[in-house]
Protein backbone atom coordinates (compact mmCIF):
# COMPACT_ATOMS: atom_id res chain seq x y z
CA UNK A 1 0.00 0.00 0.00
CA UNK A 2 1.27 3.44 -0.84
CA UNK A 3 2.02 6.02 1.81
CA UNK A 4 -0.73 8.37 0.68
CA UNK A 5 -3.32 5.62 0.95
CA UNK A 6 -2.21 4.84 4.51
CA UNK A 7 -2.41 8.51 5.41
CA UNK A 8 -5.87 8.64 3.91
CA UNK A 9 -6.94 5.72 6.08
CA UNK A 10 -5.58 7.51 9.15
CA UNK A 11 -7.57 10.60 8.32
CA UNK A 12 -10.64 9.82 10.51
CA UNK A 13 -8.39 9.09 13.48
CA UNK A 14 -6.46 12.31 12.90
CA UNK A 15 -9.73 14.17 12.66
CA UNK A 16 -10.85 12.96 16.10
CA UNK A 17 -7.51 13.68 17.69
CA UNK A 18 -7.30 17.25 16.35
CA UNK A 19 -9.89 18.85 18.67
CA UNK A 20 -8.19 17.14 21.60
CA UNK A 21 -4.79 18.52 20.60
CA UNK A 22 -6.36 21.94 20.08
CA UNK A 23 -7.87 21.77 23.57
CA UNK A 24 -4.49 20.80 24.98
CA UNK A 25 -2.92 23.76 23.26
CA UNK A 26 -5.57 26.16 24.60
CA UNK A 27 -5.11 24.84 28.14
CA UNK A 28 -1.35 25.26 27.74
CA UNK A 29 -1.91 28.82 26.52
CA UNK A 30 -4.43 29.47 29.31
CA UNK A 31 -1.87 28.48 31.93
CA UNK A 32 0.16 31.56 30.91
CA UNK A 33 -2.81 33.92 30.87
CA UNK A 34 -2.75 37.15 32.85
CA UNK A 35 -6.50 36.90 33.41
CA UNK A 36 -7.98 34.13 35.57
CA UNK A 37 -11.17 33.84 33.53
CA UNK A 38 -10.03 34.33 29.92
CA UNK A 39 -6.94 34.01 27.73
CA UNK A 40 -5.48 37.48 27.92
CA UNK A 41 -1.88 38.64 27.89
CA UNK A 42 1.11 36.62 29.09
CA UNK A 43 2.11 35.98 32.65
CA UNK A 44 3.74 33.39 34.94
CA UNK A 45 1.32 34.33 37.74
CA UNK A 46 -0.84 31.16 37.44
CA UNK A 47 2.24 29.02 38.08
CA UNK A 48 3.63 31.26 40.80
CA UNK A 49 0.29 31.20 42.61
CA UNK A 50 0.45 27.40 42.75
CA UNK A 51 3.22 27.71 45.32
CA UNK A 52 0.74 27.63 48.19
CA UNK A 53 0.44 24.89 50.86
CA UNK A 54 -2.91 23.67 49.51
CA UNK A 55 -1.53 22.90 46.06
CA UNK A 56 1.82 21.54 47.29
CA UNK A 57 0.02 19.17 49.63
CA UNK A 58 -2.27 18.07 46.81
CA UNK A 59 0.74 17.46 44.56
CA UNK A 60 2.49 15.37 47.21
CA UNK A 61 -0.68 13.38 47.97
CA UNK A 62 -1.12 12.66 44.28
CA UNK A 63 2.48 11.58 43.87
CA UNK A 64 2.34 9.40 46.98
CA UNK A 65 -0.98 7.69 46.21
CA UNK A 66 -0.16 7.15 42.52
CA UNK A 67 3.25 5.65 43.40
CA UNK A 68 1.95 3.40 46.19
CA UNK A 69 -0.96 2.19 44.12
CA UNK A 70 1.37 1.45 41.19
CA UNK A 71 3.71 -0.65 43.33
CA UNK A 72 0.81 -2.55 44.91
CA UNK A 73 -0.89 -3.11 41.55
CA UNK A 74 2.30 -4.49 39.97
CA UNK A 75 2.93 -6.82 42.91
CA UNK A 76 -0.64 -8.11 42.59
CA UNK A 77 -0.62 -8.25 38.79
CA UNK A 78 2.56 -10.34 38.30
CA UNK A 79 1.29 -13.54 39.95
CA UNK A 80 -2.11 -13.03 38.35
CA UNK A 81 -0.56 -12.74 34.89
CA UNK A 82 1.70 -15.75 35.50
CA UNK A 83 -1.29 -17.84 36.56
CA UNK A 84 -3.31 -16.68 33.55
CA UNK A 85 -0.44 -17.61 31.25
CA UNK A 86 -0.57 -21.20 32.48
CA UNK A 87 -4.33 -21.59 31.99
CA UNK A 88 -4.91 -23.86 29.01
CA UNK A 89 -8.69 -24.25 28.87
CA UNK A 90 -10.11 -21.54 26.57
CA UNK A 91 -13.33 -21.08 28.54
CA UNK A 92 -11.42 -20.68 31.84
CA UNK A 93 -9.09 -18.21 30.18
CA UNK A 94 -12.02 -16.16 28.94
CA UNK A 95 -13.74 -16.30 32.31
CA UNK A 96 -10.58 -15.08 34.06
CA UNK A 97 -10.10 -12.29 31.52
CA UNK A 98 -13.64 -11.04 32.03
CA UNK A 99 -13.28 -11.23 35.81
CA UNK A 100 -10.07 -9.23 35.70
CA UNK A 101 -11.50 -6.73 33.22
CA UNK A 102 -14.63 -6.17 35.33
CA UNK A 103 -13.40 -2.87 36.84
CA UNK A 104 -13.03 -1.52 33.30
CA UNK A 105 -16.52 -2.66 32.33
CA UNK A 106 -18.40 -1.48 35.43
CA UNK A 107 -19.13 2.18 36.05
CA UNK A 108 -16.69 3.75 38.53
CA UNK A 109 -19.60 5.19 40.52
CA UNK A 110 -21.08 1.72 41.02
CA UNK A 111 -17.73 0.31 42.08
CA UNK A 112 -17.20 3.10 44.58
CA UNK A 113 -20.64 2.61 46.10
CA UNK A 114 -19.83 -1.07 46.28
CA UNK A 115 -16.83 -0.25 48.49
CA UNK A 116 -18.95 2.13 50.58
CA UNK A 117 -21.56 -0.60 51.16
CA UNK A 118 -18.80 -2.99 52.23
CA UNK A 119 -16.38 -0.79 54.14
CA UNK A 120 -18.27 2.43 54.90
CA UNK A 121 -19.03 3.57 58.49
CA UNK A 122 -22.41 1.85 58.31
CA UNK A 123 -21.22 -0.80 55.88
CA UNK A 124 -21.21 -4.58 56.13
CA UNK A 125 -17.80 -4.89 57.81
CA UNK A 126 -18.31 -2.21 60.47
CA UNK A 127 -21.85 -3.38 61.28
CA UNK A 128 -20.66 -6.98 61.67
CA UNK A 129 -17.74 -6.03 63.88
CA UNK A 130 -20.00 -3.86 66.06
CA UNK A 131 -22.60 -6.63 66.32
CA UNK A 132 -19.83 -8.97 67.45
CA UNK A 133 -18.83 -6.43 70.04
CA UNK A 134 -15.29 -6.14 68.75
CA UNK A 135 -15.52 -2.38 68.16
CA UNK A 136 -17.66 0.35 69.60
CA UNK A 137 -17.04 3.02 67.00
CA UNK A 138 -16.77 2.32 63.23
CA UNK A 139 -13.25 1.93 61.83
CA UNK A 140 -12.64 4.59 59.20
CA UNK A 141 -11.48 2.55 56.24
CA UNK A 142 -12.90 4.93 53.67
CA UNK A 143 -12.96 8.72 53.29
CA UNK A 144 -9.24 8.89 53.96
CA UNK A 145 -6.07 8.05 52.05
CA UNK A 146 -6.26 4.30 52.66
CA UNK A 147 -9.75 4.23 51.15
CA UNK A 148 -8.57 6.10 48.07
CA UNK A 149 -5.54 3.80 47.75
CA UNK A 150 -7.83 0.77 47.89
CA UNK A 151 -10.00 2.22 45.13
CA UNK A 152 -7.03 3.16 42.96
CA UNK A 153 -5.51 -0.32 43.26
CA UNK A 154 -8.78 -2.06 42.49
CA UNK A 155 -9.68 0.01 39.44
CA UNK A 156 -6.20 0.02 37.90
CA UNK A 157 -5.36 -3.67 38.32
CA UNK A 158 -6.52 -4.78 34.85
CA UNK A 159 -4.35 -2.09 33.24
CA UNK A 160 -1.25 -3.86 34.56
CA UNK A 161 -2.31 -7.51 34.17
CA UNK A 162 -2.64 -7.52 30.41
CA UNK A 163 0.71 -5.93 29.44
CA UNK A 164 2.45 -8.35 31.84
CA UNK A 165 0.47 -11.26 30.44
CA UNK A 166 1.69 -10.31 26.97
CA UNK A 167 5.27 -10.26 28.26
CA UNK A 168 4.96 -13.81 29.62
CA UNK A 169 5.14 -14.95 25.99
CA UNK A 170 8.87 -14.03 26.07
CA UNK A 171 9.44 -16.76 28.63
CA UNK A 172 9.48 -20.40 27.67
CA UNK A 173 9.38 -23.25 30.15
CA UNK A 174 12.86 -24.20 28.91
CA UNK A 175 14.30 -20.84 30.07
CA UNK A 176 13.15 -21.61 33.60
CA UNK A 177 14.38 -25.20 33.39
CA UNK A 178 17.75 -24.04 32.04
CA UNK A 179 18.20 -21.77 35.06
CA UNK A 180 17.05 -24.60 37.31
CA UNK A 181 19.60 -27.09 35.91
CA UNK A 182 22.25 -24.41 36.34
CA UNK A 183 21.47 -24.49 40.05
CA UNK A 184 18.80 -21.85 40.59
CA UNK A 185 16.04 -22.46 43.14
CA UNK A 186 12.46 -21.43 42.32
CA UNK A 187 12.94 -17.99 43.85
CA UNK A 188 16.26 -17.48 42.06
CA UNK A 189 14.60 -18.43 38.77
CA UNK A 190 11.85 -15.92 39.47
CA UNK A 191 14.22 -13.04 40.21
CA UNK A 192 16.94 -13.92 37.67
CA UNK A 193 14.83 -15.03 34.72
CA UNK A 194 11.09 -14.44 35.04
CA UNK A 195 11.20 -10.91 36.39
CA UNK A 196 13.82 -9.52 33.95
CA UNK A 197 12.01 -11.09 31.01
CA UNK A 198 8.71 -9.59 32.21
CA UNK A 199 10.38 -6.18 32.47
CA UNK A 200 8.92 -4.68 29.27
CA UNK A 201 5.42 -5.65 30.39
CA UNK A 202 5.99 -4.42 33.93
CA UNK A 203 7.30 -1.06 32.73
CA UNK A 204 4.43 -0.46 30.33
CA UNK A 205 1.89 -1.70 32.90
CA UNK A 206 3.36 0.48 35.65
CA UNK A 207 3.46 3.51 33.34
CA UNK A 208 -0.19 3.14 32.42
CA UNK A 209 -1.23 2.59 36.05
CA UNK A 210 0.76 5.56 37.33
CA UNK A 211 -0.58 7.92 34.66
CA UNK A 212 -4.14 6.65 35.17
CA UNK A 213 -4.03 6.97 38.93
CA UNK A 214 -2.18 10.32 39.04
CA UNK A 215 -5.05 11.83 37.09
CA UNK A 216 -7.77 9.95 39.00
CA UNK A 217 -10.83 12.02 39.75
CA UNK A 218 -13.89 9.91 40.57
CA UNK A 219 -12.16 7.58 43.07
CA UNK A 220 -10.62 10.31 45.31
CA UNK A 221 -13.85 12.27 45.11
CA UNK A 222 -16.09 9.33 46.10
CA UNK A 223 -13.82 7.31 48.41
CA UNK A 224 -11.79 10.25 49.73
CA UNK A 225 -14.83 12.15 50.98
CA UNK A 226 -13.34 15.56 50.07
CA UNK A 227 -10.56 15.01 52.57
CA UNK A 228 -8.10 13.53 50.09
CA UNK A 229 -7.28 16.28 47.63
CA UNK A 230 -5.63 14.58 44.71
CA UNK A 231 -4.81 16.86 41.78
CA UNK A 232 -7.85 15.83 39.76
CA UNK A 233 -10.10 17.00 42.56
CA UNK A 234 -7.99 20.12 43.19
CA UNK A 235 -8.16 21.16 39.55
CA UNK A 236 -11.94 20.88 39.64
CA UNK A 237 -12.00 23.07 42.76
CA UNK A 238 -10.00 25.74 40.92
CA UNK A 239 -12.66 25.79 38.25
CA UNK A 240 -15.91 25.16 40.07
CA UNK A 241 -15.98 27.20 43.29
CA UNK A 242 -13.00 29.45 42.48
CA UNK A 243 -13.49 30.20 38.76
CA UNK A 244 -9.69 30.32 38.46
CA UNK A 245 -9.37 28.90 34.92
CA UNK A 246 -5.75 29.87 34.43
CA UNK A 247 -4.82 28.32 37.80
CA UNK A 248 -6.63 25.09 36.81
CA UNK A 249 -4.76 25.08 33.51
CA UNK A 250 -1.40 25.58 35.25
CA UNK A 251 -2.22 22.80 37.75
CA UNK A 252 -3.12 20.54 34.84
CA UNK A 253 0.23 21.30 33.21
CA UNK A 254 2.02 20.45 36.46
CA UNK A 255 0.13 17.15 36.62
CA UNK A 256 1.20 16.27 33.07
CA UNK A 257 4.80 17.26 33.83
CA UNK A 258 4.76 15.16 37.02
CA UNK A 259 3.49 12.11 35.17
CA UNK A 260 5.92 12.39 32.26
CA UNK A 261 8.80 13.13 34.63
CA UNK A 262 8.11 10.09 36.81
CA UNK A 263 7.70 7.78 33.81
CA UNK A 264 10.93 9.00 32.23
CA UNK A 265 12.84 8.61 35.49
CA UNK A 266 11.45 5.12 36.10
CA UNK A 267 12.39 4.09 32.59
CA UNK A 268 15.89 5.47 32.96
CA UNK A 269 16.42 3.76 36.31
CA UNK A 270 15.21 0.35 35.12
CA UNK A 271 17.50 0.58 32.09
CA UNK A 272 20.49 1.30 34.29
CA UNK A 273 19.54 -1.37 36.78
CA UNK A 274 19.55 -4.13 34.14
CA UNK A 275 22.78 -3.01 32.53
CA UNK A 276 24.77 -2.89 35.74
CA UNK A 277 23.32 -5.92 37.48
CA UNK A 278 25.23 -8.61 35.62
CA UNK A 279 28.52 -6.81 35.34
CA UNK A 280 29.24 -7.27 38.99
Amino acid sequence: MSKTKILLLCFPALLTITPFLAACFFIFRFSFSANQGAIEGFSFTPYLELADPFFIRSLLTTFKLASFSTVIVIVLAIPLALVMATVQKPWLRRLLSVAILMPMILNLLIQSYGWIILLGPTGVLNTSLRELGLISRPIMLLFNESGVLLGLVQTALPLAVFPILTATRNISEEHIEAACVNGASHWRCFFDITLPLLKPGIISGASIVFAYNASAFAIPLLLGGRRVQMLGVAIRDYISPLFNWSGAAAAGMVLIALTIGVLALANYLTQRWTVTEYQS
Binding site: E177, A178, C180, N182, G183, S185, R188, Y278
Partner: protein, 347 residues
Protein backbone atom coordinates in the same frame (compact mmCIF):
# COMPACT_ATOMS: atom_id res chain seq x y z
CA UNK B 1 34.04 -50.44 34.36
CA UNK B 2 32.99 -47.57 36.51
CA UNK B 3 29.28 -47.15 36.97
CA UNK B 4 28.30 -43.47 37.18
CA UNK B 5 24.57 -43.09 36.55
CA UNK B 6 22.21 -45.96 37.09
CA UNK B 7 18.64 -45.97 35.85
CA UNK B 8 17.02 -48.76 37.77
CA UNK B 9 13.54 -50.05 36.89
CA UNK B 10 12.22 -46.60 36.08
CA UNK B 11 8.60 -46.40 34.96
CA UNK B 12 6.50 -43.35 34.26
CA UNK B 13 2.83 -43.03 33.52
CA UNK B 14 0.76 -39.94 32.83
CA UNK B 15 -2.69 -40.84 34.12
CA UNK B 16 -3.54 -44.11 32.43
CA UNK B 17 -0.98 -43.65 29.68
CA UNK B 18 2.27 -45.44 30.29
CA UNK B 19 5.22 -43.47 28.89
CA UNK B 20 8.09 -45.59 30.18
CA UNK B 21 8.10 -49.14 31.41
CA UNK B 22 10.78 -50.71 33.54
CA UNK B 23 13.80 -48.93 32.09
CA UNK B 24 17.24 -50.23 33.09
CA UNK B 25 20.26 -48.34 31.78
CA UNK B 26 23.75 -48.24 33.25
CA UNK B 27 25.85 -45.27 32.22
CA UNK B 28 29.61 -45.65 32.62
CA UNK B 29 31.66 -42.72 33.86
CA UNK B 30 32.80 -40.56 30.96
CA UNK B 31 30.76 -42.45 28.39
CA UNK B 32 28.43 -41.02 25.78
CA UNK B 33 24.98 -42.57 25.78
CA UNK B 34 22.38 -41.84 23.11
CA UNK B 35 18.69 -42.39 23.77
CA UNK B 36 17.37 -43.16 20.32
CA UNK B 37 13.86 -43.74 19.12
CA UNK B 38 10.97 -42.41 17.08
CA UNK B 39 8.93 -39.50 18.39
CA UNK B 40 6.68 -40.54 21.24
CA UNK B 41 8.95 -43.40 22.32
CA UNK B 42 9.56 -41.83 25.73
CA UNK B 43 13.18 -40.76 25.22
CA UNK B 44 12.58 -37.12 26.16
CA UNK B 45 10.55 -38.18 29.20
CA UNK B 46 13.46 -40.36 30.31
CA UNK B 47 15.89 -37.45 29.90
CA UNK B 48 13.57 -35.19 31.88
CA UNK B 49 13.43 -37.78 34.64
CA UNK B 50 17.24 -37.89 34.70
CA UNK B 51 17.31 -34.07 34.90
CA UNK B 52 14.68 -34.11 37.63
CA UNK B 53 11.95 -32.17 35.82
CA UNK B 54 9.69 -35.21 35.90
CA UNK B 55 9.40 -37.61 38.79
CA UNK B 56 9.31 -41.29 37.82
CA UNK B 57 6.22 -43.23 38.90
CA UNK B 58 8.44 -46.01 40.20
CA UNK B 59 12.10 -47.03 40.12
CA UNK B 60 15.29 -45.29 41.14
CA UNK B 61 18.04 -43.09 39.79
CA UNK B 62 21.46 -43.55 41.32
CA UNK B 63 24.46 -41.32 40.87
CA UNK B 64 27.76 -42.73 42.16
CA UNK B 65 25.66 -45.30 43.97
CA UNK B 66 23.61 -42.68 45.82
CA UNK B 67 19.86 -42.51 45.26
CA UNK B 68 19.01 -39.14 43.67
CA UNK B 69 15.42 -40.02 42.76
CA UNK B 70 13.98 -37.27 44.94
CA UNK B 71 16.74 -34.66 44.62
CA UNK B 72 15.47 -31.37 43.13
CA UNK B 73 16.87 -30.57 39.66
CA UNK B 74 18.78 -27.50 40.85
CA UNK B 75 20.67 -29.60 43.39
CA UNK B 76 21.77 -32.35 41.00
CA UNK B 77 24.68 -30.39 39.50
CA UNK B 78 23.87 -31.48 35.96
CA UNK B 79 24.35 -29.52 32.75
CA UNK B 80 21.72 -29.53 30.07
CA UNK B 81 21.34 -28.29 26.50
CA UNK B 82 17.72 -27.83 25.51
CA UNK B 83 16.05 -28.32 22.17
CA UNK B 84 15.32 -24.58 21.96
CA UNK B 85 18.76 -23.96 23.56
CA UNK B 86 16.97 -21.60 26.00
CA UNK B 87 19.78 -19.07 26.17
CA UNK B 88 18.78 -16.22 28.46
CA UNK B 89 17.85 -13.36 26.12
CA UNK B 90 18.46 -10.64 28.71
CA UNK B 91 22.08 -11.65 29.27
CA UNK B 92 25.03 -11.49 26.93
CA UNK B 93 27.16 -14.51 26.02
CA UNK B 94 29.54 -14.23 28.97
CA UNK B 95 26.68 -13.72 31.43
CA UNK B 96 24.91 -16.78 30.05
CA UNK B 97 28.00 -18.94 30.52
CA UNK B 98 28.71 -17.42 33.94
CA UNK B 99 25.17 -17.92 35.28
CA UNK B 100 25.80 -21.31 36.86
CA UNK B 101 29.15 -20.12 38.23
CA UNK B 102 27.48 -17.08 39.78
CA UNK B 103 24.98 -19.33 41.55
CA UNK B 104 27.86 -21.40 42.92
CA UNK B 105 29.46 -18.30 44.37
CA UNK B 106 32.32 -18.21 41.86
CA UNK B 107 32.91 -14.51 41.32
CA UNK B 108 35.29 -11.95 39.92
CA UNK B 109 38.55 -13.03 38.32
CA UNK B 110 37.90 -16.73 38.85
CA UNK B 111 34.56 -16.48 37.08
CA UNK B 112 36.05 -14.49 34.20
CA UNK B 113 38.85 -17.01 33.84
CA UNK B 114 36.46 -19.94 33.57
CA UNK B 115 34.22 -18.11 31.07
CA UNK B 116 37.27 -17.24 28.95
CA UNK B 117 38.43 -20.83 29.10
CA UNK B 118 35.06 -22.07 27.83
CA UNK B 119 34.86 -19.43 25.11
CA UNK B 120 38.23 -20.69 23.91
CA UNK B 121 37.09 -24.29 24.07
CA UNK B 122 34.16 -23.45 21.79
CA UNK B 123 36.59 -21.36 19.68
CA UNK B 124 34.56 -18.17 20.03
CA UNK B 125 36.72 -16.01 22.31
CA UNK B 126 35.62 -12.78 20.65
CA UNK B 127 31.87 -12.99 21.30
CA UNK B 128 31.82 -12.63 25.11
CA UNK B 129 30.10 -9.24 25.12
CA UNK B 130 27.63 -9.93 22.36
CA UNK B 131 23.92 -10.18 23.06
CA UNK B 132 22.52 -13.64 22.43
CA UNK B 133 20.22 -12.28 19.72
CA UNK B 134 23.24 -11.34 17.58
CA UNK B 135 24.54 -14.92 17.30
CA UNK B 136 24.22 -17.34 14.41
CA UNK B 137 22.65 -20.77 14.87
CA UNK B 138 25.96 -22.55 15.29
CA UNK B 139 27.24 -19.95 17.74
CA UNK B 140 24.12 -20.24 19.90
CA UNK B 141 24.61 -23.98 19.91
CA UNK B 142 28.16 -23.65 21.16
CA UNK B 143 27.22 -21.08 23.80
CA UNK B 144 24.48 -23.38 25.10
CA UNK B 145 27.01 -26.21 25.34
CA UNK B 146 29.51 -23.93 27.10
CA UNK B 147 26.87 -22.79 29.59
CA UNK B 148 26.04 -26.39 30.44
CA UNK B 149 29.70 -27.42 30.81
CA UNK B 150 30.86 -24.32 32.72
CA UNK B 151 29.77 -25.70 36.07
CA UNK B 152 31.67 -28.97 35.58
CA UNK B 153 28.48 -31.01 35.72
CA UNK B 154 28.30 -34.57 36.99
CA UNK B 155 26.23 -35.51 33.96
CA UNK B 156 25.79 -33.62 30.69
CA UNK B 157 22.31 -33.90 29.16
CA UNK B 158 21.30 -32.91 25.65
CA UNK B 159 17.75 -32.90 24.29
CA UNK B 160 17.89 -33.06 20.48
CA UNK B 161 20.17 -30.03 20.45
CA UNK B 162 21.18 -30.29 16.81
CA UNK B 163 17.77 -30.83 15.25
CA UNK B 164 17.31 -27.16 14.32
CA UNK B 165 20.57 -26.89 12.36
CA UNK B 166 20.99 -27.43 8.64
CA UNK B 167 22.62 -30.69 7.53
CA UNK B 168 26.16 -29.41 7.00
CA UNK B 169 26.34 -27.46 10.24
CA UNK B 170 24.78 -30.38 12.09
CA UNK B 171 27.51 -32.67 10.82
CA UNK B 172 30.23 -30.27 11.99
CA UNK B 173 28.58 -29.80 15.36
CA UNK B 174 28.37 -33.57 15.85
CA UNK B 175 32.12 -33.84 15.41
CA UNK B 176 32.72 -30.88 17.72
CA UNK B 177 30.34 -32.19 20.34
CA UNK B 178 32.04 -35.57 20.38
CA UNK B 179 35.48 -33.93 20.70
CA UNK B 180 34.30 -31.66 23.52
CA UNK B 181 32.77 -34.58 25.36
CA UNK B 182 35.98 -36.56 25.15
CA UNK B 183 38.10 -33.55 26.08
CA UNK B 184 36.04 -32.93 29.23
CA UNK B 185 35.53 -36.63 29.89
CA UNK B 186 32.03 -35.82 31.06
CA UNK B 187 29.35 -38.49 31.32
CA UNK B 188 26.84 -37.58 28.64
CA UNK B 189 23.27 -38.54 27.77
CA UNK B 190 21.88 -37.30 24.47
CA UNK B 191 18.37 -37.72 23.11
CA UNK B 192 17.89 -37.98 19.37
CA UNK B 193 15.62 -39.45 16.74
CA UNK B 194 18.39 -39.31 14.14
CA UNK B 195 20.06 -42.72 13.85
CA UNK B 196 23.12 -41.35 12.00
CA UNK B 197 23.71 -38.82 14.77
CA UNK B 198 23.35 -41.53 17.41
CA UNK B 199 25.73 -43.90 15.56
CA UNK B 200 28.29 -41.16 15.17
CA UNK B 201 28.25 -39.88 18.75
CA UNK B 202 27.48 -42.70 21.10
CA UNK B 203 29.57 -45.21 23.00
CA UNK B 204 26.35 -46.83 24.03
CA UNK B 205 23.01 -46.75 22.22
CA UNK B 206 19.72 -47.14 24.02
CA UNK B 207 17.02 -47.81 21.45
CA UNK B 208 13.57 -47.06 22.78
CA UNK B 209 10.18 -47.83 21.35
CA UNK B 210 6.80 -47.31 22.97
CA UNK B 211 8.34 -46.73 26.38
CA UNK B 212 10.51 -49.83 26.44
CA UNK B 213 14.20 -50.40 25.88
CA UNK B 214 14.53 -52.42 22.69
CA UNK B 215 18.27 -52.74 22.82
CA UNK B 216 21.12 -51.29 24.82
CA UNK B 217 24.55 -51.85 23.27
CA UNK B 218 27.42 -50.13 21.45
CA UNK B 219 26.38 -48.72 18.04
CA UNK B 220 28.27 -51.29 15.95
CA UNK B 221 26.62 -54.12 17.83
CA UNK B 222 23.18 -52.56 17.50
CA UNK B 223 23.83 -52.20 13.79
CA UNK B 224 25.23 -55.68 13.23
CA UNK B 225 23.08 -57.58 15.67
CA UNK B 226 19.81 -55.73 16.12
CA UNK B 227 17.71 -57.31 18.81
CA UNK B 228 14.44 -56.94 16.98
CA UNK B 229 12.91 -56.10 13.64
CA UNK B 230 12.12 -52.66 15.01
CA UNK B 231 15.76 -51.93 15.84
CA UNK B 232 16.97 -53.28 12.50
CA UNK B 233 14.49 -51.11 10.66
CA UNK B 234 15.12 -48.00 12.74
CA UNK B 235 18.90 -48.15 12.42
CA UNK B 236 19.76 -48.04 8.77
CA UNK B 237 17.24 -48.98 6.16
CA UNK B 238 16.99 -52.71 6.65
CA UNK B 239 14.53 -54.81 4.71
CA UNK B 240 12.40 -56.94 6.98
CA UNK B 241 11.73 -60.08 4.97
CA UNK B 242 10.15 -63.50 5.46
CA UNK B 243 12.34 -66.51 4.72
CA UNK B 244 10.12 -69.46 3.82
CA UNK B 245 10.75 -72.95 5.09
CA UNK B 246 11.32 -75.48 2.36
CA UNK B 247 10.95 -79.25 2.29
CA UNK B 248 14.58 -79.91 3.26
CA UNK B 249 14.54 -78.32 6.69
CA UNK B 250 16.22 -75.15 5.53
CA UNK B 251 14.88 -71.80 4.36
CA UNK B 252 14.64 -69.88 1.13
CA UNK B 253 14.92 -66.20 0.49
CA UNK B 254 14.75 -64.57 -2.93
CA UNK B 255 15.09 -68.04 -4.42
CA UNK B 256 18.34 -68.73 -2.55
CA UNK B 257 18.69 -71.48 0.05
CA UNK B 258 19.97 -70.34 3.42
CA UNK B 259 20.81 -72.12 6.65
CA UNK B 260 19.60 -70.37 9.76
CA UNK B 261 21.51 -70.51 13.01
CA UNK B 262 18.38 -70.52 15.09
CA UNK B 263 17.32 -74.17 14.97
CA UNK B 264 14.04 -73.74 16.78
CA UNK B 265 12.42 -72.10 13.77
CA UNK B 266 13.11 -74.87 11.27
CA UNK B 267 9.58 -75.68 10.24
CA UNK B 268 7.95 -72.28 9.64
CA UNK B 269 8.84 -69.09 7.90
CA UNK B 270 11.18 -66.72 9.74
CA UNK B 271 11.46 -62.97 9.88
CA UNK B 272 14.89 -61.72 8.86
CA UNK B 273 16.50 -58.37 8.25
CA UNK B 274 18.68 -57.75 5.26
CA UNK B 275 20.32 -54.37 4.84
CA UNK B 276 19.88 -52.45 1.61
CA UNK B 277 23.62 -52.38 0.98
CA UNK B 278 23.92 -56.17 1.40
CA UNK B 279 21.80 -56.97 -1.64
CA UNK B 280 23.06 -56.98 -5.23
CA UNK B 281 20.90 -56.72 -8.29
CA UNK B 282 21.49 -58.69 -11.42
CA UNK B 283 19.62 -58.15 -14.65
CA UNK B 284 17.89 -61.42 -15.50
CA UNK B 285 16.02 -63.01 -18.33
CA UNK B 286 12.30 -62.66 -18.54
CA UNK B 287 12.06 -66.46 -18.66
CA UNK B 288 13.55 -66.95 -15.21
CA UNK B 289 10.28 -65.95 -13.62
CA UNK B 290 10.76 -67.56 -10.21
CA UNK B 291 13.59 -65.45 -8.86
CA UNK B 292 12.58 -62.20 -10.45
CA UNK B 293 11.72 -58.85 -9.09
CA UNK B 294 10.89 -55.67 -10.93
CA UNK B 295 12.56 -52.32 -10.38
CA UNK B 296 9.79 -49.89 -9.49
CA UNK B 297 11.90 -46.94 -8.37
CA UNK B 298 15.43 -45.73 -8.87
CA UNK B 299 17.11 -42.77 -7.28
CA UNK B 300 20.56 -41.34 -7.32
CA UNK B 301 21.86 -40.58 -3.82
CA UNK B 302 25.12 -39.14 -5.11
CA UNK B 303 27.74 -41.60 -3.85
CA UNK B 304 25.39 -44.52 -4.41
CA UNK B 305 22.22 -45.56 -6.19
CA UNK B 306 19.09 -46.83 -4.52
CA UNK B 307 16.56 -49.09 -6.15
CA UNK B 308 13.26 -50.34 -4.88
CA UNK B 309 12.45 -53.77 -6.22
CA UNK B 310 9.04 -55.34 -6.10
CA UNK B 311 9.50 -58.98 -5.19
CA UNK B 312 6.52 -61.22 -4.49
CA UNK B 313 4.46 -58.25 -3.46
CA UNK B 314 7.11 -56.84 -1.07
CA UNK B 315 9.14 -53.74 -1.72
CA UNK B 316 12.83 -54.43 -1.23
CA UNK B 317 15.27 -51.58 -0.89
CA UNK B 318 18.69 -52.05 -2.48
CA UNK B 319 21.57 -49.63 -2.22
CA UNK B 320 24.89 -49.92 -3.97
CA UNK B 321 27.74 -47.94 -5.43
CA UNK B 322 28.27 -50.60 -8.07
CA UNK B 323 28.37 -48.75 -11.41
CA UNK B 324 26.30 -51.53 -12.94
CA UNK B 325 23.27 -50.42 -10.98
CA UNK B 326 23.35 -47.19 -12.90
CA UNK B 327 22.81 -49.11 -16.12
CA UNK B 328 19.53 -50.61 -14.98
CA UNK B 329 16.30 -48.89 -15.78
CA UNK B 330 12.81 -48.73 -14.37
CA UNK B 331 10.66 -51.79 -15.00
CA UNK B 332 13.66 -54.05 -15.53
CA UNK B 333 13.46 -57.64 -14.32
CA UNK B 334 16.21 -58.38 -11.83
CA UNK B 335 17.27 -61.12 -9.46
CA UNK B 336 18.22 -60.32 -5.90
CA UNK B 337 21.50 -61.76 -4.66
CA UNK B 338 23.03 -61.66 -1.24
CA UNK B 339 25.56 -63.25 1.05
CA UNK B 340 23.56 -65.54 3.41
CA UNK B 341 25.90 -64.60 6.27
CA UNK B 342 24.56 -61.07 6.06
CA UNK B 343 21.04 -62.13 6.97
CA UNK B 344 20.16 -60.89 10.44
CA UNK B 345 18.18 -63.25 12.64
CA UNK B 346 16.37 -62.06 15.70
CA UNK B 347 16.53 -63.87 18.99
Amino acid sequence: MNLHLEIDAVSKSFGHVSALEDIHVNVERGSFVCLLGPSGCGKTTLLRIIAGFERQSSGHLRLNGKDISTVAPHRRNFGMVFQSLALFPHMNVAQNIAYGLKLRGIKGAKQRERVDELLHVISLPEIADRPVSALSGGQRQRVAIARALAVQPEVFLLDEPLSALDAKLRDNMQIELRQLQQQFGVTTVLVTHDQTEAMMLADQLVVLDRGRVQQCAPPSEVYRKPASAFVADFLGSANIVQAKANAHGSHELFGQVIQLKNKSSQSHSVELALRAEDIQLKASDVNDIEANGEIIMLRDLGPSMEAIVKFEGNQIRVRSNDPELRLLELGRQVSLQFDPNRCIEFA
